[in-house]
Amino acid sequence: MTASGTSTSHREYFWRKLHSFTGIFPIGAFLAEHFWSNSYALVSVEKYNEVSRGLQTIPWRVPLEALLIWLPILFHGGYGVYLWWKGKSNVLDYPWMANWMYTLQRWTGLVAFVFIGWHVYTERFLTQGKSTYADVERALSDPLYFWLYIVGIVATSFHLGNGIWNFLCKWGIATSARAQRGAAWFGALVGVTFTAVGLAIVLGVRFDWKPFEFYTLPRQ
């Protein structure tokens, strides 16, 4: 990516931009799809299993998973650990809002990376890619797993919401102070929405709560 034939190395610039881009696409987009599909747990067990089965039996499954999910997450998380190490938070000296966001972004990223690694291992690999509602229900009946999910979902949702704000500022899409405030509200909305939906799914499975079951039942 040498723009004008000079010898300046743009390698780090490229990796940084790729890192920030992969957080939104495909990772953020996949998270939206993941929460959408899993929301079928709030409809009915049958519907959930039907949707899971549908996703589990798509053609080219493994190459698609590798290219759109595993590789981007490994890169984003791995390079993210390097960035986490490179920054030195000073939020105790300068406890300003955006500085808190900076620090939380680093730590939630780390928590999310560990959680996602464990989550993929238990729900994708241990189940041979054939996870069902019963598997998820069994996992969540363990209080430790239940709380790990809660922490993981909150951290991941925060990281995505704040990451969208970062993305909009750092790609020069929201430049003025006013635009950045707007972008912050948008990011907050995304974060809160993902947290709410994610927690609803976990609570729905854990406590057999099916708020959207009504339309699956026969007409009276």
Binding site: A3, T6, K17, Y94, W96, Q105, T175, Q180
Partner: protein, 250 residues
């Protein structure tokens, strides 16, 4: 008669760049309108610690004494700011004075900020007009552009924005907000814009604009109220545009 008011101050001292820092405490007579510079001058007049030990005057850097030169930046009660505009009456005591932590200490509160100058050169944050013949007058600057550029030109290179930046540390070579703001300023200037491409090329290099991680402390710590966050974002926008379209269309 009223009791004589005193000021208590603790100073982190260091006699030479390679020596260990240590703390000294001073108790001074309070004076009206006292600022940190006056306080340090009073110590220089009578360099005796609170315990009565005779010591050396505290070295510090200062010039203008009115917050336009940037030289007297230091950590006052843990916060990076200018000593000249830090009024003793508004500070919690004992007042803690420390040198900036992101620059090498020369002695006591005096740090070497020359890396900022080196980085201005590295990011080509100037307008090159030297040559072998007279270039004539530059293009006129529209008042609207002047109004946008003026706040950016108020930078005094004090280094506060680097001091408060979590991305500026020994593991990173990030140049910091002040330098990126100058890139924006000179890209905005019609003569400077003739080298915009080279400047953006430099700012995408090592330690460049991508090292910003949006903690936005710079804009809060800037004594001149420069819209540093906006500057970084605008340089980011120009850089990404050049990176993508420069690559696609040459």
């Amino acid at each position: 008669m009223a009791e004589k008011k005193t000021v208590l101050v603790r100073i982190k001292r260091q006699l030479a760049p390679d020596q260990k820092p240590y703390w000294e405490e001073f108790e001074l007579t309070w004076r009206p309108f006292m600022n940190v510079i006056i306080l340090l001058r009073d110590i220089a007049e009578r360099p005796v610690t609170r315990e009565g030990k005779v010591t050396t005057p505290v070295a510090f850097d200062a010039n203008c004494l009115e917050e336009v030169c940037g030289a007297c930046a230091m950590r006052i009660n843990g916060k990076a700011r200018q000593a000249c505009s830090a009024l003793v009456d508004q500070l919690e005591q004992p007042i803690r004075l420390e040198p900036l932590t992101k620059f090498p200490v020369v002695r006591d509160l005096f740090v070497d900020r020359s890396r900022m100058f080196e980085n201005l050169k590295r990011m080509k944050a100037w307008v090159p007009i030297d040559g072998t013949y007279h270039l004539g007058e530059g293009p006129r600057i529209a008042p609207e552009v002047q109004q946008r550029a003026y706040p950016l030109s108020r930078c005094i290179t004090c280094g506060n924005c680097l001091e408060v930046c979590p991305q500026v540390n020994e593991r990173s070579d990030f140049v910091g907000a002040a330098i990126i703001n100058q890139v924006r300023l000179f890209n905005l200037h019609p003569t400077g814009a003739m080298h915009k491409r080279e400047r953006l090329d430099a700012v995408m290099g090592p330690g460049g604009v991508h090292d910003c991680a949006n903690a936005q402390n710079c804009v809060k710590a800037c004594p001149k109220g420069i819209p540093l966050v906006e500057s970084i974002s605008e340089v980011n926008r120009d850089a990404i545009r050049q990176a993508i379209f420069g690559w696609l269309f040459g």
